[in-house]
């Protein structure tokens, strides 16, 4: 048996891994072009405001992180059978409270650090403006990430998908896309 185990690479074949991953990657990167499109349409605003451009990688990544925290928690509760979709249940209130507190922290630290770097590279946007953009878009993103994670878990639950396979990749990528869209909408209103 052990020789079979070592000889049979099975699911670890290159072709198999590439074939499993590639279709998902093709779709997800096409989805990400949505936020690229928004970024590109506001290209001049971003390129003329380096401090605004500095917020972009964090906005791309943080939505996914926040969504993943909620989704992972809901998924575990679903597996354990303790999940409730009642709006006032602890199942939903705890991740919502946590994600708002986390976003509040992260998106308060972000503008301060970026402003400090802006002083060095020159031509920073005002701290108040930067903090407004960061907090308004960050908190909006947190609420949307929460709602998406709940909705996606609900769909996986109704359709009996394993949320670990479906919810988390969909939520993280969708939140990544929305991060830039929300940032751009807020920035366009404030700048």
């Amino acid at each position: 048996m052990s020789t079979v185990d070592h000889g049979d690479v099975g699911t670890w074949r290159v072709r198999r891994i590439v074939r499993t991953m590639a279709p998902l990657l093709v779709v997800l990167s096409a989805m990400e072009m949505g936020s690229g499109f928004v970024l590109e349409s506001l290209g001049e605003t971003y390129l003329d405001n380096p401090t605004l451009l500095m917020l972009v990688p964090v906005m791309i990544g943080m939505g996914g992180n926040l969504g993943a925290i909620v989704a992972a928690r809901l998924s575990t509760q679903l597996h354990l059978g303790t999940l409730s979709f009642d709006v006032r249940s602890r199942s939903l209130m705890v991740p919502l409270g946590a994600v708002l507190a986390l976003a509040g922290t992260v998106f308060s630290v972000l503008p301060v650090v970026v402003y400090a770097f802006g002083q060095v590279t020159g031509d920073p946007m005002g701290l108040r403006k930067l903090a407004t953009i960061s907090l308004v878009s960050g908190m909006t993103l947190a609420v949307i990430a929460f709602l998406l994670a709940v909705a996606a878990t609900y769909v996986s639950y109704r359709r009996e998908y394993d949320p670990d396979d479906v919810t988390i990749p969909v939520v993280t990528n969708l939140c990544d896309v929305l991060g830039v869209v929300i940032l751009s909408a807020v920035a366009a209103a404030v700048v």
Partner: protein, 192 residues
């Protein structure tokens, strides 16, 4: 535990990881906002359009590699060191193919979208694809080296790789992705 206490517990558990990811994101942001990078973005129209997909691909491709290696380590199928083991070599090869392949796919999408948009002209396809594929290939090497070194070292010290991979991939991806994108604009700028 009351709901409030539970919120505090989740907050404490998740904050360190988010702060590490924030640090990586800010570093990437500083590189992105720098003068040479903004010049690169102006010189290659289509690059800004490709940026979110380029950065997000890192997470999807290398996150999957990390998850696979993590499971392999748990199952005892992969040893926690760099060897010419077939499973390890296959997983790495597949990640490189996917990573570089996606860079090419993103160049095609970005170039096409900008070509179809009235009044906009993308950079010549070979230049745009050159920048993204070069950056994708170098990022791939650095990411795989960094990710595996840290996961192997962590596993040998008794850490669960599953807890390391997510934040590691986001942080390394942001840092390497943007730095090598900048490097690639400079290299292609010299050649083209």
């Amino acid at each position: 535990m009351d709901a409030r206490g539970e919120i505090v517990a989740v907050y404490r558990e998740s904050l360190p990881i988010l702060l590490v990811s924030l640090l990586g994101g800010i570093f990437a942001g500083v590189v992105l906002g720098s003068e040479p990078m903004r010049e690169g973005l102006r010189a290659y129209p289509g690059l800004l359009l490709a940026l979110p997909a380029f950065l997000a691909t890192r997470g999807n491709v290398y996150g999957a590699l990390g998850a696979r290696i993590g499971s392999g380590l748990h199952q005892g199928l992969v040893e926690p060191r760099f060897t010419w083991d077939r499973r390890l070599v296959n997983a790495v090869t597949a990640a490189v193919i996917n990573g570089v392949g996606m860079s090419l796919w993103i160049s095609v999408l970005s170039w096409t979208i900008l070509t179809l948009q009235p009044g906009r002209t993308p950079a010549p396809f070979l230049e745009l694809a050159g920048v993204l594929v070069l950056a994708g290939a170098v990022t791939s090497t650095a990411m795989i080296g960094g990710l595996l070194s840290i996961v192997f070292a962590g596993f040998r010290r008794g850490m669960d790789p599953d807890n390391l991979i997510g934040p590691l991939v986001t942080t390394l991806g942001d840092v390497f992705g943007v730095v090598f994108l900048l490097g690639a604009t400079l290299v292609v700028g010299v050649i083209a």
